[in-house]
């Protein structure tokens, strides 16, 4: 018999009963089934057909077994695209947005007044503007003939988007997405007791030592959550398409763009579905890795 003082999580199920609990959970489960499980199973099904956007196979798709999946895994273009995507996530989400976002939050943590508001305003502006508008601005910035960047640097004719397409979309994505990390870390740093920082200062700790020993242990959960979200968003991000269209010669064709090109551009919906499923699995691995790391912080 449960004593009256036991934690609420355990009394909850006893009070509601199994049926009551099921009734409460049912709406959420239905939503998950309709919007997540069904599309995933459908993707799995499409992946074993030669389904196409047009032509005979659009009306009567044939079962082709694992052909698409083996095709994807053995496809040089897929390997290339996966590698680009990992560079894109590593460069823009992890190294770029997270580090820059944290640095901004750290520098601005106990500042007030117009400077802070201005910096935050500018960073946020990059985040809230519509992607299509921003893409146009970036094309204008990086254009070979009349680009703003070339005018500023005095390097007319430098084709940034052609010579360094991946670097361009990485810088673009850092610029675009830093706001989220900055805000999250800004809030997280508020959780670090000022007395800890003060103690560290009095003990003569360097900034790095303060961060490592006083700050990070406190905000570890925030860091991992932010990394998880930002990595998954970036992994599936399509916005770079608006700037480089995956080109030139597929050199900035990250997976989201690759799926779009094969499924809708070439009309190979079955093959595109197979790529999507592989992407889901990669996402799963990323998510699992982070969630495991997140769990380790709990006392054993």
């Amino acid at each position: 018999m449960a004593p009256a003082t036991s934690p609420p999580a355990e009394t909850g199920s006893a009070v509601l009963g199994r049926r009551g609990a099921a009734a409460f959970v049912a709406p959420a489960l239905v939503l998950i089934a309709v919007f997540l499980v069904f599309p995933a199973l459908w993707t799995l099904y499409l992946g074993v057909t030669d389904y196409r956007l047009t032509g005979v196979a659009a009306a009567r798709p044939r079962f082709v077994g694992a052909e698409n999946y083996t095709g994807v895994l053995g496809d040089g273009e897929f390997h290339h695209s996966l590698w680009l995507t990992l560079q894109f996530v590593g460069g823009s989400a992890i190294a770029g947005q997270t580090v820059l976002g944290f640095a901004l939050a750290w520098v601005l943590r106990d500042r007030a007044g117009p400077v802070k508001r201005l910096v935050e305003g500018l960073v946020l502006l990059a985040w809230i503007l519509p992607g299509s508008v921003i893409a146009f601005l970036w094309i204008a910035l990086l254009d070979r003939d009349a680009g703003t960047l070339n005018a500023l640097l005095g390097t007319p004719g430098t084709a940034w988007l052609l010579d360094h397409p991946l670097a361009c979309v990485i810088v673009f994505n850092v610029w675009r997405g830093t706001a989220f990390s900055m805000m999250l870390y800004g809030a997280a740093l508020g959780n670090v007791p000022p007395s800890h920082l003060e103690t560290a200062r009095l003990a003569g700790a360097t900034t790095w030592q303060t961060l490592r020993d006083a700050v990070f242990p406190r905000i570890r959960g925030h860091v991992l959550t932010s990394l998880l979200l930002v990595s998954l968003w970036t992994f599936n991000d399509f916005t770079p398409f608006l700037i480089t269209a995956g080109g030139p010669d597929h050199r900035s064709e990250i997976l989201a763009v690759y799926v779009y090109r094969t499924a809708l551009g070439d009309g190979r919906l079955g093959f595109g579905a197979a790529i999507s499923l592989v992407m889901i699995l990669v996402n799963l691995v990323i998510a699992l890795g982070y969630l495991r790391a997140l769990r380790e912080r709990r006392p054993a």
């Binding site: 995933a40 499409l46 956007l53 047009t54 032509g55 009306a59 998954l232 030139p248 010669d249 990323i286």
Partner: protein
């Protein structure tokens, strides 16, 4: 511990799925009654076209909104019927426009009347997205009096397996445009007509000496999309004596294709063309702007370029001095008599087809509007500002007299022209052609690129048995 592990996996799965699920739904069509909604006194129809006022094909868009719709609505009103016609314009590249229409038709929605490239008719019909006109609109479709004015070859644009799927609006042809002012500075004749690829290269080398000028723009690479095939590879292939699809086989990386790639290589590796322009996402638009600004010597394009791009009044890259400064010449074969059918000059043609959406709620009214759009009066109104080759002989006889380029195309180019195969695999083959040119432009040897192309082609068309590499 176990529980939290499972929860972790479930949470990870949910996050992952939220990111990537690619949803779809099944297609197919049900045979509708052609007379459904025929008696409606009050109806709405939508017209979709890759044209938009103030942008791409602005003339077409204005024709629909300012002439077709008001006059059609007025004619219906005179009969006591309230018709509302909405124009759904787009101003994008052909590939995304095609994707949009495919998705619309797949989900049995979308505009009642839509304009498609003639090359898409076959694959849309095979997918069940389009149905023969006579099935959608009933017997009146075949009884339409306009058919008598449209030549069989042009009707072929809208025909698949012997059935008409729509009404073709017109056709086109491809030529080499050149800037006479730059030609004069390079010491080339104002009245230029190359008779071999060597002539083309010679002119390119002369133009290269004029500072700040890109001698030749021959569309290449994947960013240019179908333009690379239509304005580049396919006419050149025809000039080397091969068609992309002949006698049930696709043309692989054999001698003719290697010759085509060798010309690309000669142009882009010798500095006769701008290789970067072929790679840029907006390279084709930029090439138009550069030609209009007098920075490109020779450019291969269809008559669309003359009508809608460098048109001094309505073009997207207006060239005020077009009529004085721009010349045009037939595209030469590799050497005289070496083109397809033993020709010395070649071209490729296509054309738009206006089709009915089989899911329309008002097939009779939609056909009435379709026929109205293709009446002689409407064709004349459409081409009044910028003449073009319509599908109707009776209209062409009147309107082409005034335009030298179009008379040239109708008289000299169309007899030499060829059409693309209306087969669903074609777009993928076309993409492989584009990739082969991209490889050459970025430095691969023609032999290497041709071998890669053959391999890719065999994968697309189901084995070496369907590929001719002679």
């Amino acid at each position: 511990m176990d529980h939290s592990g499972r929860r972790t996996i479930a949470a990870a799965a949910a996050l992952a799925l939220a990111g990537t699920a690619l949803a779809g739904c099944s297609g197919g069509g049900s045979p509708g009654d052609p007379d459904r909604g025929a008696k409606a006194r009050n109806y709405t129809l939508t017209i979709a076209r890759n044209a938009i006022e103030g942008g791409k094909n602005t003339g077409e868009a204005e024709w629909i909104t300012e002439t077709v719709i008001p006059r059609f609505v007025a004619a219906q009103k005179a009969k006591g019927i309230t018709a509302k016609v909405v124009f759904q314009g787009s101003g994008v590249d052909d590939e995304p426009y095609k994707t949009k229409l495919s998705l619309d038709l797949k989900s049995r929605s979308g505009a009642d009347i839509m304009d498609i490239d003639g090359i898409w008719v076959g694959e849309f019909a095979q997918a069940g997205y389009l149905r023969p006109l006579a099935d959608v609109a009933g017997p009146r479709a075949d009884a339409w009096d306009g058919w008598a004015q449209i030549p069989k070859a042009v009707q072929g644009l809208a025909t698949f397996q012997g059935k008409r799927y729509g009404i073709p609006a017109g056709t086109d042809g491809r030529v080499l445009y050149y800037n006479k002012r730059l030609f004069a500075r390079a010491g080339l004749p104002a009245n230029w007509q190359p008779n071999s690829w060597d002539d083309l290269r010679t002119a390119g080398r002369a133009l290269k000496k004029v500072p700040g000028v890109t001698p030749i723009q021959l569309d290449a690479g994947t960013a240019m999309g179908e333009a690379t095939s239509m304005q580049g590879v396919l006419p050149l292939l025809a000039g080397a004596g091969a068609e992309i699809y002949a006698n049930g086989k696709w043309t692989g990386g054999g001698a003719a294709f290697k010759q085509v790639l060798a010309l690309y290589s000669a142009i882009y590796r010798e500095g006769l063309g701008d290789p970067r322009l072929q790679q840029e996402a907006k390279g084709r638009d930029k090439s138009f702007a550069e030609f209009a600004a007098g920075k490109i010597g020779i450019l291969a394009e269809g008559d669309y370029f003359w009508r809608d791009v460098i048109n001094p009044k309505t073009g997207v890259a207006k060239m005020p001095s077009r009529d004085q400064d721009v010349g045009y010449a037939l595209i030469p074969a590799i050497a005289p008599g070496k083109g397809i059918r033993g020709q010395s000059h070649v071209s490729m043609s296509g054309g738009a087809v206006t089709v009915l959406n089989p899911s329309t709620k008002h097939p009779q009214q939609a056909f009435e509007l379709l026929a109205f759009m293709n009446s002689p009066e409407m064709h004349k109104a459409r081409t009044a500002g910028t003449p073009e080759i319509t599908s109707r002989d009776d209209v062409n006889r009147e309107i082409l007299k005034g335009d030298p380029l179009l008379s040239f195309i109708a008289g000299k180019v169309l007899p030499l022209t060829a059409y693309r195969p209306g087969i669903a695999l074609y777009p993928q083959v076309s993409a492989a052609l584009q990739e082969a040119t991209a490889a050459v432009v970025s430095g691969k040897s023609p032999d290497e690129a041709a071998a890669q192309y053959t391999k890719k082609l065999e994968g697309i068309v189901g084995g070496a048995g369907n590929v001719a590499t002679g």
